[in-house]
Symmetry: C2
Subunit: 476 residues, 2 copies
Amino acid sequence: MSPTTGKIARFTVHDVRFPTNVTGDGTDAMNKECDYSAAMIVVETDTGVKGHGMTFTIGRGNDIVCYAIEQVAQRVVGMDAEAIFADMGKFYDFLVADPQHRWLGPEKGVIQLATAAVSNALWDMYAKTRGKPLWKLIVDFSPEEFVRSTCFRYITDAISPAEALELLRAKEGGKAEREADVRARGYPAYTTSVGWLGYDDEKVERLTKEALAQGFNHFKLKVGADVADDLRRGRLIRRIIDDPANMPPGRVVDPKTVEGKNAGPTGCVLMVDANQVWDVPQAVEYMKQLRPISPWFIEEPTAPDDAVGHAAIRKALKPHGIGVATGEHAHNRMTFKQLLQLDAIDVCQIDSCRVGGIQEILAILLMSAKFGVPVCPHAGGVGLCEYVIHLSLIDYICVSGSMERNVLEFVDHLHEHFLYPVSINKDGRYNVPMDPKGGYSIEMFEKSMSDYAFPNGNYWVATAKGEPFAGAPQAH
Amino acid sequence: MSPTTGKIARFTVHDVRFPTNVTGDGTDAMNKECDYSAAMIVVETDTGVKGHGMTFTIGRGNDIVCYAIEQVAQRVVGMDAEAIFADMGKFYDFLVADPQHRWLGPEKGVIQLATAAVSNALWDMYAKTRGKPLWKLIVDFSPEEFVRSTCFRYITDAISPAEALELLRAKEGGKAEREADVRARGYPAYTTSVGWLGYDDEKVERLTKEALAQGFNHFKLKVGADVADDLRRGRLIRRIIDDPANMPPGRVVDPKTVEGKNAGPTGCVLMVDANQVWDVPQAVEYMKQLRPISPWFIEEPTAPDDAVGHAAIRKALKPHGIGVATGEHAHNRMTFKQLLQLDAIDVCQIDSCRVGGIQEILAILLMSAKFGVPVCPHAGGVGLCEYVIHLSLIDYICVSGSMERNVLEFVDHLHEHFLYPVSINKDGRYNVPMDPKGGYSIEMFEKSMSDYAFPNGNYWVATAKGEPFAGAPQAH
């Protein structure tokens, strides 16, 4: 307990947008232009303790989310921070229980994105007051504290608090060993940086080779605009990643990490991502045609709300050896519950700030473990990599106890704006965040927040005038 | 074609809130305080043709929706109105296709509510330019025009455009007769005005008797806060509505309208509504205890996104003779698709402005007809009754061909603010809106919009000063 943490006294909200549209980063079959944006909140107590939280959008409308964050955060002002930390599950219930705001969701869309930013800011503050990175704060929880921090409302037909407790207790024994292991080796990652739709073949080839040299062995390609293009680009990547001559010296692949993933002769894995462009029957027909490039899974084949549709696609593609992954647009734990109950996914791709904060994340990690589905969080954008390494560490150390089959998305964008950025080790794995002041790793440099503040930050003002801006992002 | 309709030139957005919280109207187990509110848009062409649209909220956050409406509507400015009317399905695709706004949903929450307001305003304008109420505009469509106005994206695994066409063609022959029939007799309604949680027993008794005298024979009670209270209130209503002595003179009940609905000896039906307060196992246990009051269905037993959960509840309650209804919070056609595919509902309760406009409504009507589930739209609030009578007329005349099992919710609130308000005939049925200038019936008096504009309208300014306001709503 830290009696000096104080009461929540004030907050500021920041609409921060990075002009990623100019470089072609982040383009896929659905999202053809995006300026990666953060709807950021900084919460401060009357004793000056701060917490940072954000949610992610891709540009226009980031102000709508900021506007909603103001209203959600207003409800927290005056609350005692330590009283919040003492029961984070109850705090989540409070955040989503405003009857009038609830009507705008419930627990989905703009109001849920706002809830995520506020909830995550409080988790960041909590971790900082304890002098621990967020993952470590939670890993050190007792199973009882973990369960108390989890939102079980509406999911007890899939997992009860008692079952969760049992599951967590069964993993208690190995926690110290797993923590030591992942701190030494890092957490497995995959790269999406090679295959955005906006990139030409030469760029894809160059980036694939660079990623191999960095130690990656999972590669993701955006598909869905044109079968012939997808096959050509997929074969191009396959040719490079399946060729032993392209492997970096001294490379070792643990076969357990690629088991059941259609790995090629070098132990490299290809995934494809359609970003919701298809109807259910279209998804099945299109993906059968991509069988020659043997992807591990198709990500987001159809509407993200459609658990029944994903189940049908998974069943139809099973004979073709292709799995199904989704989750980055699944807006709450009830959607994940249904995806798991209907056997609709091979891989669960939670997003760190589309669902309403750590309290929902813990619920989804617990359900995924119970249903035996590996969790590979969505990342990229801005700030998402910083967030998700914490989630995967919690999953590995406390919940699933496994990181062999898992891989955590990594995209090499915009990390330079964060005080505690993620980094990748020589084996293409995430380093474990260790800074005791780092919290949830989401604190952004004040200069970045002000330069890219929309529409009045230095970058946007210069651009509106047609003037160059020093430090603007360059094409990779 | 009306070449003088012109281009969309401008729009105004209005945050209008009615202080229903002071009367206890609209209270249920989830929504304990609500000020019924309209996020209203008035769209105008450069030739002065107007269209009105709104979405409904229950107070705080109505400004967030208005803020989002501004951004969605901005994308329509400059478009030719007749080009929009020529392909309303394509217009819906356009409205939801902005890649950056899409990230905030997709097709759910605040951004979808905003889409609904804008889409409905264009439908209102379309109907007004043709000098027809909206239902008549659509009823006069050929099956081909109907299908072209429907959004099929992401639902073709449940119904294809070809199947829809076949279904509509099969109903073509009887359209004129059904139109004449409903114009003569009105559309069946039920009342929710009797059983809000905020009302005491005396008020419930008085309102139930009044409703019987008005000709109603379906009654809805809000439940979920306390079993004993619910049983007491349910028995109170049952005692009144099952007693032949309380029936108005000359009353005739068509037995087809109450078949399979647990009707009592007088042909009266009781429904109960929990407004999402339970988890799945809780819902089953609680509802078994309400068996003595024999409700037709339990409405919104759990989270509105949870099709799997609703299916489980329905299966468990079937042996107890209690059905399941939901839909007022189901945010898009994909959620309805799953509810239908999983046999999760006995009654489909679409909301007129939570889903993204008529284009989605038509999709849901078609799917419900194919799956054999009656559609009983959600109404009440402000403006919802005005909207939904149009939807039920379209359903009866063109799609399902049946109004025997259906009943349309009616709540006697706030109709006085509309230029073309709904009305109920002596048999407790909705009159058919016939004004050729009425469009989608959602145009509000300018005085109402300005008096109740939040926070600067006359009512809210007077209230903030503690002064009385002439014309403020009184408790019923």
